[in-house]
Structure formats: structure tokens, C-alpha cells
Amino acid sequence: MISEIFHLLYYKIKTLLYFQIELNKTSIVKNIASFFVYSFFLLAFYNGTQFAIDVVIVKYRLGLFILHKFIGIGVFIFGMSVAVGNMIVSFSTLYKSAEINFLFSKPISSESLFIVKFLDNFFYSSSTLFVFLIAGLSGYANYFQLPLYFYAWSFFVLIIPYVITFALVGILTLFGFIKIADRFGVRVTIFIIGLLYIIALSLFFKFSSPLVLIERVLPYYPNINIDLSFMFSPYLKYFPNFLLSDALFAFIRNDFHKIIINSSLIILISSFVFTLAVYISNRFYYRSFLKVIELRLTKSTPNRIPLKNIFDKNLWFSSSLSSLIKKEIVLFVREPSQVIHFSVMMILIVLFISGIRSTQVIILKAASPELQTIIYMAILVFILFMLIAFSLRFVFPMMSLEGENFWRIRSAPIDIKKLVFIKMLIALVINLFIGIILIIFSHSILHSILVTQALITFVIFSMTIVPLIFMMGSFFSNMKEKNPIRISSSQGATVSFLVSILYLTTVLGLMYYPINEYFNARFFGKIPMVENIFSRINIVLGVVGLFSVILSYLISVKQFKKDI
């Protein structure tokens, strides 16, 4: 088994190396651009970590214990995201890829295949993540002046096993998903898994609420830089996320005993989950592979195919454009990964909307204008971030998904400019529709000045980001990749994400001052005089947005006309 794994890994690494050292003009430009964007963000992440620590320790004087509990909560959310992400990506790579069909036709054991594909997945989709973790760790280590060995220890002994644990949890959940889906159907299973996920998150936050944490710890001030774990549930500290954060805390206190114990426990948990996953893969992976094929084939019965008469109906556009747009809609609706992701995002939006009224009440009742500003900005960040996530997942792959049939578009009697315009428009209209609903619900009891401004900001933000991400998707297009999930987790998508975050940060930076002024005025019973500032910001963002639309459109048209 070991030789099988190394043999496969050797050639997998070889394919990656070939990919990395490809030297042509476009590749060099893309890599240089990526390098600058990555460097900027790594630096920002490094400084951001130090700034965040400083805010907790110096500005709010919450102490080292609370800081590390916050880190524990943060890495838990991060771990759960890794698990969900890995579950989705693994479904494509472990079950649906052409490669897996090739490998399963060879005499390879299920567990070897599982290990190779897991590592392939893990490092393919997590390499960027690790680079950012290193930047964050460096910021942390530099802030506390930790010794050099901390970097190696925390990365290899704490973080990698921790991330592997959650990635494996994602795959184990996927195995469970297939097992349950075989018995109860896909929809019921999505409901069950979604419910379990929400329950797990709710329970975690019930037992490790940040507010309860602060309330319990602050009475001990100024003795809040020591280990106060005794005040909390004795079981909570054995969660991998708190083992990790407590180990980091132990580094600061030079508590080597604790470092060794926590590190050993993290490795032990990781090894246990890994062994369990390998054991289950030995018994279940091949069977589940066959089961997934069966589920896919069984599902495609003619009477269940949605939009089956769409090609008989006329749209407003010319027949060729109309056919392409219909194709876009039908392929989206009939691709399970697209529909499932879209549904998950819609559920998130519904959850957000259902809880947003109480958050607005919290804003209005908050004890200080700063707090009001922060909570309001958090809502704005969520909405704008949702738009970025949505665009990256669905707009970025739009050109790549044309795939090797792209020649049909190129050889059809259609105007490429019009086609690009319509594709961008579809993406923009859907994004605007979702965003406007979010803004309306999230501002239902807030003052009209904020509602108007939020709507304007959102429209300009969408008009800038959606065409930009569409353009990046066409610039980094990969016509050979059929899997939209892999396209949206590619190097180009990461660069697009980082550029979008940069823009988001700029917008928030510009908005912070007038919003803070607004809440200040309202808090002290004055009339807010912020319309002028808002107008100036709108003009600046509008001009940037206009440039983005024109530039993105022109570059996208050029990309659609390039030789492939």
C-alpha cells in the first residue's frame, strides 16, 4: 500500500511541478500579478494580526487569556469552514473526476486512492490558506517576541494536524452523507446534515460564548494574563481548537509542559481521525464511488429534468444569443453542485434576514456610537462579502465553463460584445436582486439616510465587483476544467478574491468616518450632517466603478476573442 501511495504521489507532484514552471508571456504576467497581490495581502495579514492583538490587549485591556480564547473561537470557525469546503471539493475529486474513474479501473486499494486524493485535495485547495496562516503566525510571533522554533513547532505540530483533522471530518461527513442519501434521498440528507451543522455551531457558541467569557474573566482584572481555564467546562479545553489556542498561550508563558501535552493531544486526535478515515475508506470508499455513479444515473430520468421545454420558447434577443442564454440557465439548473451551492447561499441569506431585525435593535440600543458603528459595519461587511463570495463562486467560472465547446460560440454568427454584455448583465442583475433584498431587510428599522446610502453603496459595489470578477474569470479561464468548484478555488480565483477584499476594505475605510459621524450625532440627539460626505464618497466610488465596468468589459471581450 505504501509503495502504491508513493508511486502515485510521485507522479502527482510531477504534474504540479510541470504546471508551475510553464514559461510563456501570459503565464509570466499572471504570476507576477499574483505575486504582488499575494505579497500585499500577506503583509496586510501580518500587520492585521498584530493590530488585532493590540486592540484586544492594549485598547480594550481584555488580557492574554481572553485573547487566546478568542483565537480558539476563531480557529474553530476556520476549522468548520475547512470541513465544509473540503466536503464540497472532495465530492468532486473523490467521486466525479475523470481521473478517479481511471484510477478505479486499476488494481489499487481504496485506502491508497483515498489517501492520495485526500492529500492532493488538501494541498491543492489549502496551499493559499497555509501561506496566510504563516503570515498570521508570524505577526503573532513577532508581537510576542517568540523564539524561532515557535514558527516550525506551531506550523508543523499544531496547525497542519489541526487543519488535517477538520479536513478529514469534512470527508467523513461526506461518507455519512452518501450513506444516508442512499437510504433517504439527497434532499432529506442535505436537511439532516445542515441541521446537524447548525446544531453543532449553536452548541459550540452556547458553551463558549465570547460575551460570557468576558463577563466571567473581567472581574479578575488585573490578573487576566494567567490561565483561567478552571472557570470553564473541563471538557471544552480538549476541543482541538482550544488545545491549539492554549498551546499558543503556553508558548507566551514558557509553559513547556502544557505545550508538549497539547501538541501531543492535537497529533493524537489528528492521527485517530486519519486512521478512522482510512479504515472507513477501506470498507466504504469503493462502494460509495459505485453508489454515487448509480445515484447520478438514476436521478436523470426524463420526467424530472427541469426546464425541458425552455428551448421551444422565445426570448427577447436574437435566436443565437437567446440559445446561448437558455443554455446558460439550463446547464446551471441541471448541475447539482451549482444548485446545491446556490441553495446553501440562499439558506444563509434567509438565516441572516431572519435574525437581522434583532441586530438592528441592538444597534439602536448599543451603549456607545463606536459600538453602533462597529455592529452596523459588520452587517455591511456581511452583505458585501456575500456578494463577493457569490460572484467568485458563480460569476468567476462563467467563461471557463464554456469548456472545450467554446468553438461553438466562436464559430456561431453572434456578436461577442453583445454576448459578454449579456453574460455580465445576467450576473449583475441576480447579484443586485439578492443584495437589494438584503439591504432592505437589514435596514428595516434604521433611518432613511442609512438605507439610501447602503443601497447606493451596494449598487456601486456590485457594478464594480461583478464585472471585475467576470473579467478575472475570463483572464484566468481554464477551458479544460469542467468542475465549477475547482475553477472557483483556482489560483486566479484566489487572486480575484484578494483584489475584491482589497476593494471591500477601501470601501469600508471610506464609509467608516461618515457612519461613525452619523451614529455620534444620533446618539447625542443632534441632526447628522453626513449627506455631503456620503455624496463625495459616492462620486469617487462611482468613478472607480465606471472604470471597472468599462475596463472589465473590454478585457473580457478581448479574452473571449483570444485563441484557445
Partner: protein
Amino acid sequence: MLTINNLTKSYNNFNAVDNISFRLESGDFTAFLGPNGAGKTTTIKMIAGLLAPSSGSIKLKNFDSVTNHIQLKQNLGYIPDQPFLYDKLTGLEFLKLTGGLFGLRREELKKKINETLELLSLGDWINRKTETYSQGMRQRVSIASSLLHNPDLILVDEPMVGLDPQSANIVKKAFQQKAAEGKTILISTHSLHIAEEICTRVIILNKGKIIFDDKIEAFKTFHEREYKNLEAFFLELTKDDF
């Protein structure tokens, strides 16, 4: 060698393969014929372990496709209709990768690679990345990779689709040579002439059922006696679908 017993594959009450049984002996070069949707690829994929049978059994040298699928695959060379190659590997690297998956040792693998390179006339292209290959070249590399471990059963799904005449000729000769060496070959094809030219036995599948299974001589005699040509005979046998 290969024993298929009451094999069925059903989807939503539809039998893609409907209770078929046949046996292939060493040296049999069998054409698997039938119109689109007859169940040829489904049967081949079940033998290759890429689909699970709904009922019935598949045994290759007594290795069952469900309980001993790894041993079965060790004795099998499966060539799919759409060849899968790693784009960023060269043809030679791909052959080394596949040979390794079948457990071939370095020296043995080197010898086998040289033999198959010659058999399929792969030449200098073998050192270039497979992403630069034509369809014919891709198919030939895929075939080569499936022959390296000297399998007892060679399973081929539509090997001639998209091949230029030169490639088709090379592929045909390669299979003929393997059959002459005593290997069992099951080849799914739409081309009746290829079946007639190179195969020793014909199995015709229609709507998941076997409707003809005999030696090639019987196939020829029958259609020559009753019909003016091979196409007319085949169309008559499968006429419900046209």
C-alpha cells in the same frame, strides 16, 4: 477465463443490461456489437469495476468483480472510449505511472514499455507532454498503458472513434498480435467491418439482451446467405431501434 452470469443492470425499473450470460475463453477475440444504448458500455464498465451489477456475477479467472475486484483488475486491461491521460505528464511518464500501478518492477517495466512503444508505433512523441497529442496519439498511449502488465483480458470500448486511418491500422494490428499471443479480447465497436476483419466471435446486444452470439464464420455465413450485406443483416437484427 471470463464468465458473465445472469448479469443485469437496472436504473429506475429500466434494464440497461438484462440478464445476459456468456463466457470468453483464452484467445477469444470477441466483437461486442449493438446500436447506441444497447448496453455495451454498461456491460464493459461493470466488468472493469466502474459500475456495480444490480444482479448476476462477473468472474475473471475465478476472481469475482464484487468480492475480489482488485485481483480481477490486476488481470484486466481496460481501454475506455475517452482516454484519460494526465496532460502535464509525457507519454512515457504516463506509461511508467500506469505500469507502477500494476506493480511492475523497473527493469520489467522498461522492457514492457519498449515492447508496447514498438507495438503501437509511438516513436519520439512519447517524450512530449500528452496535452500536445492528437486524438489518435492519445488513444494509442491509453492502449499502450493498458497492455503493459500483459493482461489476460483486454476490454476495449469503441477504440476506433476519432482515429485517423494510420492510427486505426496500428491499433488493429496491435490487437491482432495480442490475440495471437493467446490474450482474450472483448471489443465494443460500431464498425461491423472491423468486427468481421479482426474478430473471431461476435456478440450482438440489443435493448440490454444478447440477440446473437456465435463464431465469426457463422456470422458471415448467415448474413451472406440471408442478406445482401453486413449492414442489412445488422439493421434487421436491431430494427426496433431505427
